[in-house]
Symmetry: D2
Subunit: 389 residues, 4 copies
Amino acid sequence: MCKIKAVHAVNSTICISQSTKSAMKRGDIVTFGEGRKKAAVIGAAGFAGIELVRLLVRHPVFELVAVTSDAFANQKVSDHYPALIGQTNLSFCANADLDRSELDIAFLAVPHTAALDLAPALLEKGITVVDLSADFRLKDADIYEAWYGAEHTQRSLLKEAAFGLPEVTGEELSHAAQRHAKGQAVLVACAGCYPTATSLAAAPLLLAGLGDAGSSVVVDAVSGVTGAGKSATERTHFCFANNNIEAYGVAKHRHTPEIEQILNIPNRLVFTPHLAPVNRGILSTVTIKLAEEASDITIERLQQLYEDYYAASPFVFVLPQGTLPKTSSVVGTNNAHVSVVLHKPTRSAVALCAIDNICKGAAGQAIQCANIVFGFPQAAGLEGMALPI
Amino acid sequence: MCKIKAVHAVNSTICISQSTKSAMKRGDIVTFGEGRKKAAVIGAAGFAGIELVRLLVRHPVFELVAVTSDAFANQKVSDHYPALIGQTNLSFCANADLDRSELDIAFLAVPHTAALDLAPALLEKGITVVDLSADFRLKDADIYEAWYGAEHTQRSLLKEAAFGLPEVTGEELSHAAQRHAKGQAVLVACAGCYPTATSLAAAPLLLAGLGDAGSSVVVDAVSGVTGAGKSATERTHFCFANNNIEAYGVAKHRHTPEIEQILNIPNRLVFTPHLAPVNRGILSTVTIKLAEEASDITIERLQQLYEDYYAASPFVFVLPQGTLPKTSSVVGTNNAHVSVVLHKPTRSAVALCAIDNICKGAAGQAIQCANIVFGFPQAAGLEGMALPI
Amino acid sequence: MCKIKAVHAVNSTICISQSTKSAMKRGDIVTFGEGRKKAAVIGAAGFAGIELVRLLVRHPVFELVAVTSDAFANQKVSDHYPALIGQTNLSFCANADLDRSELDIAFLAVPHTAALDLAPALLEKGITVVDLSADFRLKDADIYEAWYGAEHTQRSLLKEAAFGLPEVTGEELSHAAQRHAKGQAVLVACAGCYPTATSLAAAPLLLAGLGDAGSSVVVDAVSGVTGAGKSATERTHFCFANNNIEAYGVAKHRHTPEIEQILNIPNRLVFTPHLAPVNRGILSTVTIKLAEEASDITIERLQQLYEDYYAASPFVFVLPQGTLPKTSSVVGTNNAHVSVVLHKPTRSAVALCAIDNICKGAAGQAIQCANIVFGFPQAAGLEGMALPI
Amino acid sequence: MCKIKAVHAVNSTICISQSTKSAMKRGDIVTFGEGRKKAAVIGAAGFAGIELVRLLVRHPVFELVAVTSDAFANQKVSDHYPALIGQTNLSFCANADLDRSELDIAFLAVPHTAALDLAPALLEKGITVVDLSADFRLKDADIYEAWYGAEHTQRSLLKEAAFGLPEVTGEELSHAAQRHAKGQAVLVACAGCYPTATSLAAAPLLLAGLGDAGSSVVVDAVSGVTGAGKSATERTHFCFANNNIEAYGVAKHRHTPEIEQILNIPNRLVFTPHLAPVNRGILSTVTIKLAEEASDITIERLQQLYEDYYAASPFVFVLPQGTLPKTSSVVGTNNAHVSVVLHKPTRSAVALCAIDNICKGAAGQAIQCANIVFGFPQAAGLEGMALPI
């Protein structure tokens, strides 16, 4: 009843997703004329790194050829992450041993300042760099230096970096794609996890100028423990993180200037991040005072504004009025669930967004940006669905 | 080496707590001249009800003589809550079977409107009523009717009710204690869980007039699942609540007018409650725009203001500057951990409070109020310590 | 760079999995000549039902045309399971409204005895039935009646039913596939969750005759809370299930005779199931006294026996010697991770298996069986990978 | 209404527990003539250590005067464990700085081999030592050396050590108490966590000779993550431990010889420990083949045997027939919940026990042993009740 035909020479995939928002239809075949693109993940043993590995081993075009980790060099990926047993035979290699000669793209899942050191040489070799660190996110290097306490050694590169939050900075990424199409290697600075969730919640309203320019924007966001990274510390120990809700970094979290930059609200953000005992997920709750001229906006119009804003996005779903996002509904996916609610007595809006901090907030978004830069469908390799329970 | 002396006739307890804030010292003996007081818990099978049972079976003066539940009538408490095996032989009795004749105090852990029906008859019989429902919390019956969608049938009683949040409404409780000392039965309307956490965070600042009167107060609070009650629903099913963070009741939660009443901020509150996968605990994060005249307040002065405000409270601990509250540190206790942080760029303060929603946010506070009304030390029977891990 | 070619008329899929065990290679195109097969899930609102929905909306050949639920009739699937937002526009229909006229296959995710009523009419209509209930699992109807306390009204059908645990009962399924290829509708009785995990752990050893025939086989298995079903009860309430480990059904769980049947160990099984606070996953730990003639077997030979037994299975991975299975590594997948360890002092083997109870233990296995019966690759639509963290 | 009388000079406590098993009655005053006893916890920063601190700051007779930790020297206990805020002002001191001159008792919560070094000097100074490590548990030093891979340097002391599992080795502890009453410092080697849970489940049956001497005893136990210790490792990282069930140490866990020693079943134990995502709790499930002469024992007689065995214990509760233990019911307490079930077809019994691994399985039991040795009521300072939810 079924015939198997080998088509190893051709790069193609068949859409089997029934996504109600996808431009592709079930059965569409996507063919990539020039063959697969070789990708490496630098810093693959951490949480964002291994999520890149999870996604890339199934990507229809990118071919994951190398994953680096000094700590785990020469050990099999699946020995450390047994979910990958049977999915890949790759071993980690030491950073110094990475063969850059044939790479088309490198994903940097490294601590801040490390990307400053790595990116220039890669770009010079013609390798496109998608950086998940904070090193190239802030347009103003002085702000970087103030918040990260480190010298920004690549100020000229900073200007070239496209900011990677496609639903908000699509234009920057389009330009990068155009340069890439001309044969240039490009640099993408992917948005952080809190900035992604927060901006997706607030952008339609704030970027439309509906916020009161004289008021603060208050963001309280709750993250899962993957957000605290893979290092085993007291904060990440099961027995301390379990059964606990806490805030941290109040009034000083480094994602503050990044959110202010994206939403164009300089010195107006009060951002308080929290930890809750889940692995993955961020729920960002954004409270915005409406501008006086928006004081009689109806919830229906606001809802429409949001739906219009995200109409073309394959990943962002504006929930029906009255429905609120849950992090569990997006775990393991590149999706964002967004809601907006009006609070008449204070002339405010409360906008909420749930994402998977490690996927849409890190690795998934990086691949989405890479897809855009390479001219692939945005959702290639990112069709994952969350578990319903 | 040790001698046992029976003193059954005497009501007394020995303080063995080393609490750094207690007026009592280790070894102090507290003697209660008139004998023990008989207490009942009406609606004892729910979460607040069973927490009352847990605390009352160890209370040095209140003697728990009856616990009611129509659903579990004639079944042993410990059959339903095996943590109580060996702690009590009480069985639930049907509400209709409750013998009110010898009661000194009744705790009502019932749904709203039920307390409207129950309280008058109890008070008439001379039984002091500590109500954990919302029925007597709102001073303005019209607001009650608007938010709870039910007629307030006991408007006259409403005036007599003392609001039960001792750290803020101590005066109301003192008056009640005076009336009780004269032999009157009194009615206490205990504060709700979110109002307790939120008010303990914000009261020192807002009640001192340091908030900007023209700005909203933004409260994002995260609660454990006990806050959703004992009813088994989709929301409380393990498989839906686990691995999930979500907001609920945005812009319409019934604790909104209660918080506005306590903090005297009518129509200025934007309150967004959230659920996270822990059993117990609320973390309330309150963002407050400072009044212009408070714009140059230092964190040291703010910290001092908080420490002074709670200096006499045995339960509220203002954490050292730079330390933030964790819900796990207060689980199972009547304690509140409070912090306040300044955010200069927006002239705001972020105040945080962690409590156990079922203890300080419900049953523990009810007993604290009862202790005050009866003239016992506030902390009698409430000396519990959280597990360090 | 990429061209999109519509091939709606063709049923085909491209393998993008790099599974080290798959017969297919990346880029292979699988074409299904006769068009897609229409499938329904009866009882789709429960946990096994919704997992069937999750898998079938992405299946390359089965086309999910109807999902039934009396409780949720006429409501959108994604309203109840927001993880499916954007994945399907299906609504539940009442069972009575199910249009059976065009169905090729029906999956029954119904309580026991309900399948006895449903299966005959479906089969008569020429619809293949894959039953996830217990109704057709036990070959001996008397045993069914004794353990399930219900009359077995379809004893003749029982003989026709193929037992659905492909790694052990592959022959029964092959016969069913042959009958199906001749145009007959067939009935598959899928193995239960504990029987699946336990049998995959023990089958290579016990079916090779290496167990001591005079000794008991001791199985202690730990399941996630999805195993307790979707009904909201005290057992499944978050606040009772969280922070708790407990055993249940000791000496009387209904999976006992099923495991004894699969492993051919009548009256020799001591089976104790447990619950732990995870959503998905079963870890089954099987302790087996070795036959005297196997007393000098080496761990290397035992390991080889296991690897040989599962060499052809795309789903079962025998872990390297010294590595033990974790449930988190198989969540959301149809995979099983298996280990075996020798305990010399007692001449015993301890065999362990981790599966996702809702996927390999229910919905995934049902689809695996359906794939076999319809002549598709076993893994079609079941290529899911677990999250590494 | 209440008078406070200072009795600082007197050591006394009033029983307010209504425990149905306690010899004391509510209101009993226990007076300790000779004054309080000075206690130190060596290795207080780990999980067993901090649990000792939690219990000792409330103990009526032991006075906690010093807690050591080299890692946290000179830092406040409550800075690291904020649950202790307001409960103690103690700071950790370096081990070298511990003032031994006035100590009556030292609790050793140190890794194995460290106790070998520490105990002799303490005992020589007349300080009673309650050791929570494994160093003095195994009566046969050769077995210790084989399992722990370390030389046993204190073989003579081994003979003096009383094994600390009061419900089973009460006689050893009585002898120690007699020696202590004569002024001797004594050494107690507290039972490990798995041995405690397992022995409490199995002792009544096995020590009565009802087990089949020729068959293995199979123990599968599930522990919370505190059992893996405070070290932050991949195993204890929240994101790896959460959502996961796994076995570890199969066929080689070091508690194996200890359980065999307590239950007198040399080379007959197959012990498989598991981890589940809870902080505290062990559930041990013990499957025992009954001796032929016990083959017609009824469940009623077995139940009676268990109830008789534990009749005098204030901590062990044999649950009513048909009720099974839950770990959540004993968290934070020194209690054990025990059940036994008959499995007729295999002539087996399944015995189960739930304890808090850090309390009854470590710190609580250590204090229970210390109470016995010093002649205090067993339950002094150990009256804690679990949270009902």
